[in-house]
Amino acid sequence: MLLLVQYTLIFASVLSLVALGGCFSEHSGVINLGLEGIMVIGALGGALMMRYAPAGIPAFVMVLLVLLAAILAGMLFSALLAVACINFKADQTIVGTALNMLGLAAATVFVKAINTAANPDDVSSTIQYVEQKKAFLVNINGFEFNWFMLIALLMLVLAYIILYKTRFGLRLMACGEHPQAADSVGINVYKMRWSGVLISGMLGGLGGICYILAGVSEWKFENGVAGFGFLSLAVMIFGQWKPTRIGLAALLFGFFRALSNVYFGFPGLVALNIPGSVYNMMPYIISLIVLAFTSRNSRAPKAEGIPYEKGMR
C-alpha cells in the first residue's frame, strides 16, 4: 500500500511538472506538442550530469547540479520550438511532432556514441545511475521520499502565484487569449510567447529527469518516455489549464500509472488474473475516457495554435 502511494506521488509529480509546462506554453498561445521530446532531452541532460559529476560530492550539490542540467537542456531544446513557431510562424503541430522524434533520435545517437566510445563492445543506449540516484531519496520508515515530490508541489504553488497574482502571468495569459489586444496596450507578444515556451522547456526538462528517476536506476534512451508528454497534455486538458486542478488530475493519472508498477503486490488484483499489459494500458484508456467527458466544454486559451502576426486583425 505504501508502495502504491509512493509510486502514485512520484508519477503525479512527473505529470504535474510537465502539464504545468504545457500550461505555461499554451497560456502564452503556443501549443507545445513537443513536450515528449523535451522530456527526453531534459532526462538526457540530467542523466549525463549524474554520470559525469565527480563522485563524493555532497548529495545536495548533486541534486542541484542535476536539476540545473535538466532545466538547461529542456530550455535549449524548447528554443527550437520557439524559433520555428513564434518567429517563423511554422505549423505548431508539425514542429512539435518533429521535436518528439528529434529528441528521441538525438538522445539515442548521443548516448550510443558515448557508450561506444567508452567501450567498443557497448552498443546500448542505456545510462546507469544506481549510486547517484540515492541523492534524491530520503527513506522515511519504508516510504521512499523523493525530492521531486516537494519540487512538484512547490512548482504548483509557484505556477498559481505567477499566473494569477503577478503582472507577468496575467500578461502571459492575455497573449494566449487575445494577442492583438495585448499588443495594443504595449505588451511584446513575441517576448511573452518566448517566455511561455522556455518555461515549458524548463518544466518539461524537470519532468523528464524526474520520470527516469522514478522507480528505476538505469534508463534506455531508445524507449523515450512512453507517451508521458502526451499523458501530461491530457492532464492539462483535464485540469482545464488551471494549476490547482492540474495537481488533482495528475494524482488521478499517477495512480493508474502506479498500478502497473505495483499491482502484483496486491493479492486481490493478482487473483483477478488480468495480464500485465492491461495495467500498462490503463493510463491511456483512462485519459481517453476523461478527455471524452471534458473536452466538449474545454476552456483552452482562445488564441492558442495561431501564429501571431502584428498586422493581422
Binding site: I94, A106, F110, T116
Partner: protein, 377 residues
C-alpha cells in the same frame, strides 16, 4: 513577359523539399563530425548510398528490393497522414492504425489460417476502426485528435503484444513465420521477384501502394466527395452551412486514413519479411516516418511516393554505417531534422515569392524609367 518558372507552386514545393533534404543531411553530417570526425564522411555517404554499398549488381538489386518492400507500408502511412491533413486533421494515430493492421493480418493468418486477401481486408477494418474512434471523439466530443491518436497508439501496441503472444514462437519473442505455418497468407509476388534477383519479399504490395497513391490524388482533387472533405477541413462551419454533413465527413476522413495505415501494416507483415516482436516497448517508427514523408512530399500524393522512397532509402541506409563509431539511428535523426525543417516550408515559399516580387518591381521600374526617357526625346 515570360512567366517565371519559380512562380509555379509545385516547383516551389520541390525546391523547398530539396532544401530540407540538403540541410537535413548537412546537419546530420555535422552531428557525425561532432561524434567522431574520422569516419563522418564515410558514414554519411553510407546512409545516402544504401544498397549501393554493395559492389555486386545482384546484391544491389536484391537490397534495392528490400528497401522497396518497406517503402510500400511507409507510403501507406504517409498517405494516411496526408489524407487526414488535407481535411485539416493531423493523424498522428497512423502509427497505431498501422500496428492494428499488423496485428489483425498476422493473427488472422496464423490463428485462423486465412488467405492473404481476407487477412488484408481484416487489417483494413482494424485500422479503420481505430480511425473511427478518433473521428468520433473529435467530431462529437471535441477531443483533440493528436492526443487521442497518441493514446490509441499505446493502447493498440499493448493489445497487439497481448494478442500476438498467442501465436509466437515458443523460444523467442517473435511471431511464427508465415512461410512455414500458412504460405497461402503470403502476398503473391506477381513475378516481381524476378526483377530483384529473386527477392521473394517484393510483392503485390508495391504496385498496390502506388495505385492507391494515385487513387488518393484522384479522390481529393477530382471528385465531389474529396471537395466536400477539403471544404470541411477549411471551414467546418461554412461546410455545415452549405449542407455538408461535417461531422460525418470528419469521421469518414479518419476511417479512410485509418484504413490506409492499417493496410500498410498488412503490406509489410504479409510478405513475411519481418515478424512481430511481442515484447515491443515502443510504437514502431513507421507511422511517424510517414509524417516525414507526407510533408517532404509537399503534401501531394504523387510527391509522397518519391519522398516515402527517399525516407526509407536513408532509413535502410542507416544500417550500413560503421557500428564501431556510430549507431544506425543516425538516419532517424536525419529524417526528424527534415520534418523539423519542413515546418519552415511556408517561410521558404514566402521568401521565394517575395524575391520574385522584388526583382519584378525592379524590372518594372527600369522599364518605366526607360520609357520616360524615350518620351522626353
Amino acid at each position: 513577359m515570360k512567366k517565371n518558372i519559380l512562380k509555379n507552386s509545385a516547383v516551389q514545393s520541390l525546391i523547398a523539399s530539396l532544401i530540407c533534404i540538403f540541410l537535413g543531411l548537412l546537419i546530420g553530417y555535422i552531428v557525425l563530425l561532432f561524434i567522431n570526425p574520422t569516419g563522418a564522411w564515410g558514414a554519411i555517404t553510407a546512409v545516402v548510398k544504401n544498397f549501393f554499398n554493395y559492389s555486386r549488381a545482384n546484391l544491389q538489386s536484391k537490397n534495392f528490393g528490400n528497401t522497396l518492400v518497406k517503402t510500400a507500408p511507409l507510403l501507406m502511412c504517409a498517405l494516411s497522414v496526408l489524407f487526414a491533413y488535407k481535411v485539416g486533421l493531423f493523424n498522428i494515430g497512423a502509427a497505431g492504425q498501422y500496428v492494428a493492421g499488423v496485428c489483425a493480418s498476422i493473427y488472422a493468418a496464423l490463428a485462423w489460417g486465412w488467405g492473404w486477401f481476407p487477412c488484408m481486408l481484416l487489417a483494413i477494418v482494424a485500422g479503420a476502426a481505430l480511425g473511427a474512434i478518433v473521428g468520433f471523439l473529435k467530431s462529437s466530443l471535441n477531443v483533440n485528435e493528436v492526443i487521442s491518436g497518441i493514446m490509441l497508439n499505446w493502447i493498440g501496441l499493448y493489445l497487439t503484444n497481448m494478442l500476438l503472444t498467442t501465436v509466437k514462437e515458443s523460444t523467442s519473442p517473435y511471431t511464427l513465420h508465415l512461410k512455414n505455418e500458412n504460405p497461402a497468407s503470403i502476398l503473391p509476388s506477381l513475378g516481381l521477384d524476378k526483377l530483384f534477383n529473386g527477392n521473394g519479399y517484393v510483392s503485390l504490395a508495391l504496385p498496390l501502394s502506388v495505385l492507391l497513391a494515385i487513387a488518393v490524388a484522384v479522390v481529393l482533387n477530382r471528385t465531389k466527395f474529396g471537395y466536400e472533405l477539403k471544404a470541411t477541413g477549411n471551414n467546418k462551419n461554412a461546410a455545415k452551412y452549405c449542407g455538408m454533413a461535417e461531422r460525418r465527413n470528419i469521421i469518414l476522413t479518419l476511417v479512410i486514413a485509418g484504413a490506409l495505415a492499417g493496410l500498410g501494416g498488412a503490406l509489410l507483415y504479409l510478405t513475411d519479411y519481418e515478424q512481430w516482436q511481442c515484447t515491443t516497448s515502443a510504437v514502431p517508427s513507421m507511422g511517424f516516418n510517414g509524417i516525414a514523408a507526407t510533408f517532404l512530399g509537399g503534401l501531394d500524393p504523387i510527391g509522397t511516393i518519391f519522398s516515402s522512397y527517399f525516407i526509407q532509402h536513408i532509413t535502410s541506409g542507416g544500417a550500413y554505417v560503421d557500428k564501431t563509431m556510430y549507431s544506425s539511428q543516425i538516419s532517424d535523426l536525419i529524417s526528424s531534422i527534415i520534418i523539423y525543417l519542413c515546418g519552415f516550408v511556408l517561410f521558404i515559399k514566402y521568401a521565394i515569392n517575395s524575391g520574385i516580387a522584388k526583382s519584378e518591381e525592379k524590372k518594372a521600374k527600369k522599364l518605366a524609367a526607360a520609357s520616360e526617357e524615350g518620351g522626353d526625346k
